[in-house]
């Protein structure tokens, strides 16, 4: 068994490519016309997006009755999808901000793409609160603006905290992403071959000149943004978890929800990022930038966060018994053996058992296997939100109120369509913006930094 050489730092970018070649390879998708494969992929995602539009149209015209929501399951696919997509977004910020704060250089190859995924995932997620109200055209009422009713929003409601949290998250992620893009726009500006491109890139780069006097402030702002984005991402999914945890519903009201949801969000987010990156690195030939080591590290993070989710399941179970609160105990038995047991066991298999495969190095470094594991994780995490929301609502305190929930075809269209929405943006992103951060990657190539002489 070969021993790793711990004295050497692992190269983040393999092969020590020349800086100019990094420019070329990363700019290539932007400078070439899309090929047939792109159009095929785009047509698939656009069809799914079409389903989304139709589903939403039916919902707006005929009302929420087109969904499967009933009494008592007043929240179903809408909130499950919302939490799912917000969770996916968290991986991006974690990679960008938190790994930056931990000085993990291996984030550079994937940070730009992950942040982009965050923004698109948050956009997708934002749609759900907006459409699940009965009169979506009144969504402006979510904001505290002076109005002739003299009314203000309810600041004690976690649903309102959500409005602030997700909007802040979207704005800050966008700002963070844009700040990172400025130097790259400038590089593209210098390479621009047509006048239009030159004008566009000049505008968006704001005239960035790569001056070190600017880099100094830039790095400070990047650090500040990363420092803010980290607690922000924790707070966003915490506030999402508060939507449930502040209630008195058994299975919802439990203090571990905040860190449990955050860990789960990172877990599912990394799974989605990993899936998409496996495609990206292959299609664009970025294997030496988005290395197998990077993917392995992502799998390790999935193992850690998956274990945290498993820990939370165990704690919930134990304390439900320990508390002696009979409805709480019933809720957990109901989840495992009640009418939704099929969903529960999918969740447990996918979330607790499959990520444990990542204990094995061979599996961590095998691309087909890790891809499948990550797909399972995403499925499992969707089902986790489904189990939490639907089983707790369908059977709560009063047995006379119990009912079974079934989604309708409109629910399904919206779910599938949300993937179409998300992936369409990603495809467009790959053709419009550099998916790898040119400046950051250059900074971590071997010998890119001056050697220390005096320390």
């Amino acid at each position: 068994m070969s021993v790793v050489d711990y004295t050497q730092e692992l190269s983040v970018v393999e092969g020590k490519p020349a800086l100019r070649s990094l420019d070329d390879i990363i700019s290539k998708p932007l400078e070439t016309k899309p090929d047939k494969k792109f159009y095929i992929a785009l047509s698939i995602t656009l069809s799914m997006l079409g389903l989304f539009v139709i589903g939403l149209g039916l919902t707006f015209w005929y009302g929420i009755g087109m969904w499967g929501n009933n009494n008592p399951v007043g929240w179903a696919f809408d909130i499950v999808n919302f939490v799912f997509w917000v969770g996916i977004g968290h991986a991006g910020t974690l990679i960008s901000a938190i790994l930056f704060l931990f000085r993990q250089k291996w984030r550079t190859g994937i940070a730009r793409f992950a942040e982009g995924m965050t923004i698109f995932a948050v956009m997708t997620a934002l749609l759900f609160p907006l459409i699940h109200v009965g009169r979506p055209w009144l969504d402006g009422w979510l904001m505290p603006y002076p109005n002739q009713h003299g009314l203000w929003v309810n600041f004690t409601s976690p649903l309102l905290w959500d409005v602030f949290a997700v909007s802040t998250y979207f704005m800050v992620s966008l700002i963070f992403w844009y700040v990172g893009l400025i130097p790259d726009f400038a590089t593209l500006r210098e390479r621009a071959s047509t006048k239009i491109k030159k004008v566009i890139y000049s505008t968006f780069s704001l005239g960035w000149r790569f001056s070190n006097r600017h880099w100094q402030h830039y790095e400070m702002v990047y650090l500040i943004l990363a420092g803010f984005a980290t607690p922000l991402v924790l707070s966003v999914h915490t506030i999402v978890s508060f939507d449930f945890a502040v209630s008195i519903l058994p299975g919802w009201h439990t203090t571990i929800f905040p860190p449990y949801f955050v860990a789960g969000a990172v877990f599912s987010g990394f799974a989605m990022v990993q899936n998409v990156l496996i495609f990206v690195r292959r299609i664009f030939n970025y294997e030496h930038i988005i290395t197998l080591d990077t993917l392995e590290k992502m799998n390790k993070i999935m193992l850690v966060t998956g274990s945290m989710v498993g820990y939370a399941y165990a704690m919930e179970f134990f304390i439900a018994w320990y508390s002696g609160v009979q409805p709480e105990q019933f809720t957990f038995l109901n989840r495992a053996f009640g009418p939704y047991a099929w969903a529960y066991w999918i969740m447990v298999t996918c979330n607790v058992i499959t990520p444990q495969l990542f204990w094995f190095k061979k599996i961590r470094r095998s691309i087909p296997v890790m891809f499948i594991v990550a797909v399972f994780v995403n499925v499992g995490m969707w089902f986790e939100r489904f189990v939490i929301v639907v089983t707790s609502l369908s059977r709560d305190y009063l047995p006379s109120s119990w009912a079974y929930y079934k989604p309708t075809y409109v629910d399904a269209m919206i779910l599938i369509g949300s993937f179409g929405f998300f992936f369409t943006w990603i495809l467009l992103f790959t053709k419009a913006l550099p998916v790898v951060s040119i400046a950051e990657v250059k900074a971590v190539v071997d010998d890119a930094q001056p050697s220390h002489k005096d320390h």
Binding site: L19, M171, N212, W215, K442
Partner: protein, 379 residues
């Protein structure tokens, strides 16, 4: 050839170590108006150029804290002052509930303020009319080379000296950079009338659209479907009825649910003979009786039934309930008086249910016994 104004002399370096060395030497030499250009930030460059640390952290701190405070005050005012509503039994000012929003506002305001300050104030961007744009120098430092640019404005600048200096550092492609015509008269775009006009236009557009949407559009179909419903609202007119009123009186003989008509209206003696008190003298009954008595009867009769209530003088005092006559009345008679009224006293049948009235009767009995206690009662 026209006299072009010199901006700076630039030099290119190939490796990070060289540019660090060059920067150190340049700042040692005493140049102040110079800059280093690299495709990515280099560690140790700030130290080499002897740059003071960035002050942007303070912007973030100050704006963040102000944002938190502003959010708190705003939420306090909206929830506890302007339109207080009791929600979930929590106090009007529920500080724990405000923490999440305060946190989000802090982050948002600090992030936006810091970035905008950096871009517009520190960097004076957007600026696409800088002399270094559109030069080969910029092409190279934006990609794979490292460069240094010593500005002509610097005190120690002299063309020959700088050229020798740069050559001495090992720079390649030492070139002069001149201002283009537009770039000379460059003023910060932020304050340009065009930009201010653009801002004004955007503000007007945004407010106009918001006004139209919120005050006009939302009242047009299909958005008004919930507002304009086919049901009849109170006080509305109706064409179904000849008198045009939407609201109708109940049909003759209609009684409310659970109501039984009082059989002994105007017949106190019949009531006394026929009505029996169904309620026993238990604590809950007496407590209810006391509560109802205190609420409805005490304004005139007083708390002890003596007729000396707090309405003294403003309303005719009723006779005491402790008189022989009333003590000898059966329960049914007292019940009748409460239900039907007597003289100035109105009927209380709409204010108390049958059960409550019987409880009051029991309570009156208690009061009567209390003020006419016998020796045996003390045991």
């Amino acid at each position: 050839m026209s006299d072009k104004i010199l901006y700076s002399y630039t030099g290119i370096f190939d490796t990070p170590d060289e540019i660090i060395h060059a920067a150190e030497k340049t700042s040692e030499y005493g140049f102040k108006k110079y800059d280093v250009h690299t495709p990515y930030p280099l560690h140790g460059m700030n130290k080499a150029m002897k740059l003071p640390p960035s002050k942007l952290g303070y912007v973030a701190l100050v704006v963040g804290l102000s944002g938190a405070l502003a959010a708190l005050l705003l939420m306090f005012w909206m929830s506890a002052v302007d339109y207080p509503i009791i929600i979930g039994g929590k106090p009007f000012f529920s500080f724990p509930a405000y923490v999440p929003v305060m946190f989000e506002v802090t982050v948002l305001s600090a992030a936006i303020a810091t970035v905008l300050t950096m871009l517009f104030i520190f960097f004076k961007l957007p600026n696409n009319a800088h002399p270094l744009h559109d030069t080969d120098y910029m092409k190279e430092v934006s990609s794979n080379k490292y460069g240094i640019s010593i500005q002509a404005e610097d005190e120690k600048f002299s063309e020959e000296q700088v050229k020798i200096f740069l050559t001495g550092l090992g720079a390649k492609e030492i070139t002069a950079v001149y201002y283009d015509n537009e770039e000379i008269n460059y003023k910060h775009k932020i304050l340009e009338p065009k930009f201010i006009g653009f801002l004004l236009f955007t503000a007007l557009l945004t407010s106009g659209v918001s006004y139209f949407v919120l005050n006009k559009l939302l009242y047009m179909p299909p958005f008004d479907w919930m507002m304009e419903q086919d049901k009849l609202n109170p006080q509305a007119t109706s064409t179904l009825f000849t008198d045009g009123y939407g609201m109708r009186e109940p049909i003759e003989g209609t009684i409310s649910r659970g109501h039984l008509p009082y059989l002994f209206k105007g017949q106190p003696d019949a009531a006394e003979i026929n009505l029996a008190n169904p309620l026993p003298f238990t604590k809950p009954v007496l407590e209810m009786g006391q509560k109802k008595y205190d609420t409805f009867c005490s304004p005139c009769h007083g708390y002890h039934g003596e007729g000396d209530s707090r309405l003294r003088g403003q309303f005719p005092n009723p006779p005491s309930l402790h008189s022989e006559k009333i003590r000898n009345w059966k329960d049914g008679r007292i019940f009748h008086v409460i239900t039907d009224g007597q003289n100035v006293m109105p009927s209380y049948s709409s204010q108390m249910t049958t059960e409550e009235r019987w409880a009051v009767v029991n309570y009156i009995r208690v009061l009567q016994r209390a003020l006419n206690a016998k020796e045996s009662d003390l045991k």
